[in-house]
Amino acid sequence: MTGRDEWEPEAAELVRPYVITKGRGLPDEEQLSLITLVTVAPEEGQRPTRLSPEEQRLIDMCSAGYLSVAEIAGHTRLPLGVVKILLAALAEGGYLITRSPVRRAALADREILEEVLNGLRAKFG
């Protein structure tokens, strides 16, 4: 096994992603994980907007409900790193709100697993 040879997710390396993300760096995993749920902030319409087409498209996509970061990347077909950077900036700008899975600590693992087990049984018999 070649082991740890330091492969890093590429966010702003290629020219086009660099332009799309305005050269910003990757947000950290705590802030925006694959399963962090994202939607538009309630007062979104009022802000003065100077957003890129990509940013506007993400806002549009998130305006009809909640999607996970991974789902947003899947639907837009943008690389995950690029999506994370754009979402982090839009959240910072107050356009989007994020619900992080960190809240999971509020429910014990045991309770979650019990509920998942019951849910699977109810769904699939």
Partner: protein, 200 residues
């Protein structure tokens, strides 16, 4: 940007304002049935996302005086299951290559556990991914994706070949079948719950 088809109500997380997102990994080597498995039980059409990974070359390029870079793409696919008003479950499928440390960490962090799909004819191909799962401290169950449909002949031999602990669950499954895939997932979750109870 490639324009995506517009999304319908069913594409969104049902109770996103209140649900806690959790994830379970579906891992295994290439062509073992991960995408098929996720597709058979996901409530959404399975999605794929790609990450471009770069690596600085070992040596500095003398002519340009800069480190050259190698780029590759790693894909993972995933699906979703609404469990209850409080929980939405994501299933992430990944071959889990050792060398993509950063990506693997993103996928593994916070996961409830992992279902390892194995092909009984290619057991050696599963060693790497099982090592990786153990290295990250994830609890797991083995789902033997039985391509020829006959019952697993020798579970003891399989346990020995994969060097499993006695209490690691082993189930057979046909990843194309919803019920069979759901049973395998249920076996994993029941095991994870037992573990969580023991730890209290």
């Amino acid at each position: 940007m490639v324009s995506a088809p517009s999304l319908g109500k069913q594409d969104y997380v049902r109770d996103g304002a209140s649900q806690i997102p959790v994830k379970i990994l579906v891992v295994g080597h290439f062509a073992v049935g991960k995408t098929t498995f996720i597709g058979s039980i996901s409530e959404i059409e399975p999605l794929t996302t790609e990450e471009r990974m770069t690596q600085a070359a070992e040596h500095v390029d003398d002519l340009k005086g800069v480190r050259s870079k190698t780029t590759t793409t790693v894909a993972m696919d995933f699906g979703r299951l609404t469990i209850s008003d409080r929980i939405v479950l994501y299933l992430f499928g990944t071959p889990g290559q050792q060398r993509f440390v950063q990506m693997w960490e993103d996928i593994a962090r916070g996961a409830l556990g992992a279902l390892v799909l194995v092909d009984p004819e290619r057991l050696a191909d599963s060693f790497g991914v099982i090592d990786l799962i153990e290295q990250y401290g994830l609890e797991y169950a083995i789902a033997v994706n039985h391509f020829d449909g006959t019952p697993l002949r020798d579970e003891a031999a399989l346990r020995e070949a994969l060097d499993l602990l006695d209490d690691t669950p082993v189930v057979t499954c046909d990843a194309r079948d919803e019920k069979s895939s759901a049973d395998a997932l249920t076996t994993l979750v029941r095991f994870l719950l037992d573990r969580a109870r023991q730890e209290q």
